[in-house]
C-alpha cells in the first residue's frame, strides 16, 4: 500500500514536470530558433530538412547587418533613449510617489486620481497631433521627440506611491523632520535607500518598454543613424522585396540579447516583486 502510494506520488511528479517542461520548451524554442538561425544561411533555414544547430555556421548575416546599418550607433541610440527614459521616470516618479504617500497638502487625493486618469488615454490614439507638435518644433529625428512624451509616466507614480506607502515608516520621516531635515533631504537620505527594490523592478519594466518600443519611434525616426535596434529589426534583411531570413534573425538577436541579459541579472528581484503583487498595485 505504501509502495503504491509512493509510486503514485512519483508518477504525478513526473506528469506535472513533463507538462511544465513541454511548456517551457514552447516558450524557449522560438528564442533558441532566433539565436542559432542568425548563424545559418538562407538555404539552410528555409528548407524542410530541419537543422537544429547550423550545419555550416556562418557570420555572413552579421557581416551584412553591420555593413548596411551603423549598428554601434544604433545600439548607442537604443541605450541612450531607454536609459534616459528610465532614469527620468525613476527620479520624478519616486519624488511624486513620496509626496502622494507621505505628505499632506490640499487636493492630494484628487490630484492623484487625476494622474491615474491620464493612464486611460492611450498614447497611440494621439499620434497625429503629437506628430504635428513634434514637426512644429522641428524635432523629427531627434532623441527628445522619443524621450520627452514618456519621461514621466502615471504608472510609475502609482507604483512608487504604493511601495513608499507600505514600506517607508512615517515615524522615520517625522524623526528626520525634527532633526531639521528638509523634504528633499528626506527623499535622498531616507526614502531612496528603502525603495531600491522598487526602483529595480520599475526600472526594468521601463527600460524594456523603452527599448522594445516600435510605433512612436517608427513615426519620428527615419534616418538610419537615428534608428533604434527595435526599428532596425523591423527594417533589416529586406532587399528588392526579398526577405533574407538569416539577416532578420541576426538583427533580432542583436536587439533581443541586451534586455534578456539585464533581465537575467535582476530576474530574482523582478519575479519576486511580481510575486509580491507589486504590479497589480495591491
Amino acid at each position: 500500500m505504501t509502495q503504491l502510494s509512493r509510486l503514485n506520488k512519483f508518477l504525478s511528479w513526473v506528469a506535472v514536470n513533463i507538462i511544465l517542461m513541454l511548456l517551457m520548451a514552447a516558450f524557449m524554442i522560438p528564442f533558441f530558433y532566433m539565436t542559432v538561425g542568425g548563424f545559418k544561411l538562407q538555404n539552410e533555414i528555409a528548407s524542410s530538412h530541419v537543422t537544429i544547430f547550423p550545419r555550416e555556421p556562418t557570420l555572413e548575416n552579421y557581416r551584412v547587418i553591420f555593413s548596411e546599418w551603423p549598428i554601434l550607433r544604433i545600439t548607442g541610440n537604443s541605450f541612450l533613449i531607454a536609459l534616459t527614459v528610465t532614469a527620468s521616470n525613476l527620479f520624478f516618479c519616486s519624488l511624486a510617489g513620496l509626496a502622494y504617500a507621505k505628505f499632506r497638502f490640499p487636493g492630494r487625493d484628487k490630484l492623484f486620481s487625476l494622474a491615474l486618469l491620464t493612464m486611460m488615454i492611450p498614447m497611440q490614439a494621439i499620434l497625429v497631433p503629437l506628430f504635428i507638435i513634434m514637426s512644429g518644433l522641428n524635432w523629427v529625428n531627434t532623441y527628445q521627440s522619443i524621450i520627452l512624451p514618456g519621461a514621466i509616466g502615471a504608472f510609475g507614480i502609482f507604483f512608487m506611491r504604493q511601495y513608499i506607502d507600505s514600506s517607508v515608516p512615517t515615524e522615520l520621516l517625522d524623526a528626520a523632520r525634527i532633526d531639521g531635515c528638509n523634504e528633499f533631504g528626506m527623499y535622498w537620505l531616507i526614502v531612496m535607500p528603502v525603495i531600491k527594490p522598487a526602483m529595480v523592478t520599475l526600472g526594468l519594466i521601463l527600460f524594456m518598454n523603452a527599448w522594445n518600443d516600435y510605433l512612436w519611434p517608427m513615426i519620428m525616426l527615419n534616418e538610419n543613424a537615428m534608428y533604434t535596434l527595435s526599428l532596425t529589426v523591423g527594417a533589416a534583411g529586406l532587399r528588392n522585396y526579398l526577405l533574407n531570413w538569416g539577416e532578420k534573425l541576426a538583427a533580432a538577436t542583436l536587439a533581443a540579447w541586451p534586455p534578456v541579459i539585464i533581465f537575467f541579472i535582476f530576474r530574482k528581484q523582478f519575479i519576486e516583486s511580481i510575486m509580491a503583487g507589486a504590479l497589480k498595485g495591491g
Binding site: 524542410s48 491620464t118 497611440q124 490614439a125 497625429v128 529589426v233 511580481i274
Partner: protein, 319 residues
Amino acid sequence: MSTRNVSGVIETNEKLIRRDETRLPKLKKWLNKYKISYIFISPFFILYAIFGLYPVFYSVYLSLFQARGRKDWTFVGLDNYRRLLFEDPVFPVTLLNMGKYLLFIVIPMTFFGLVLAVLLNSKQAQRLGGFYRTMLILPYVLAPTVISVIFVQIYDYSFGWVNLLLGAVGLNHIDWLGTEQWSLIGISLVLLWQFVGYNALIALAALTGISPEIYDAARVDGCNVFQEFGLITLPLMRPILLFMAVMTTIGVFNMFAQPWLLTHGGPGYSSNTLIILLYRTAFEIMQFGYAAAIGVTIFILTAIFSFLQITFNRGFSSE
C-alpha cells in the same frame, strides 16, 4: 486660548502677531507651507499638459477638418465622424476584429494563465520552480519586432517549424498569416505565447496567498482536485482574474506592433486593428483630420469601456 486667562499682555502680543500674519499675502503663506509637495508632483502634470492633454484637445479640433498632412485644412464639421461610422467599410470590419481579438486573447490568456499558475503552485513543481518562473517571463522581455521576425518564419507555410510539426503528426500545413481565415488566430496565438507566462506569475502570486488550511479542510470534507479548484481556487481568485482580464483588454485595444509586423492587418483587413487603421490613415494616405476622428473614437470607446469595467468592478466587490 488659555493665555487669555493668564495675562492680557500675552493676548495683545498674540493679536499683534496675528495682524502681522494677515499682512503677509495669504497665498504666499499657503504656498510656502505646501510648496515642496507641489514641486514634487508638478513635473508629471507639466509634461502631461504638453504631450498628453494638449494633443487630446488638438485631436478633437483636428477631427473637424479635412486635412491632407499638416497643410490644406478645410473645416468640415462632423463629416469625418459621419464617414467613419456610416460610410467607411473598413471601420466595422476592424471593430469586429477587435471583438474577435478580445475573444481569442483575453479569455485564453486568463484561463491558461490560471492553469499554469496552478501547475506551478503544485508540490511537484517546487523543486524546479525558480527555473520555470524565469523561463515563463522570457517571451515577455522580447521586443514585438523580435517576436514578429521569429514568428513570420516559424509560421511559414512550407518551412516553418510549426507546420513541420503539424506535418510530423499527420496534419495539414496551415497558412497562418497568409489567409483571411487564420491570420487573426495566428496573431492571437503569438500574443498568447508572449504574455501568458507573465499572467501566470501574477496569478501564482495570488494563489500562494491562499492559505493551505482551506484546502486541508476541503480534503477532510472529501473534495477531489476538481471540486477544490471550482469551489475554492476559482472564487478566491476572481478579483485577480478580473485584473488580468482588464489589463489584457487594454493591451488588445492598443495592439499595433505584432499585427502590423506579422500581416500589416491583412490579408485584406482580416487582422486589422484600430491603431493600424489610425496609423495607415494618418501616415500612408496622409488624411490627418480623418485619423484624428479615429483617435477620438478610440478615446470614447476606451472611456465607455473603462466606465463599464468600473461599474462592473463595483458591483463585483459589493457582492
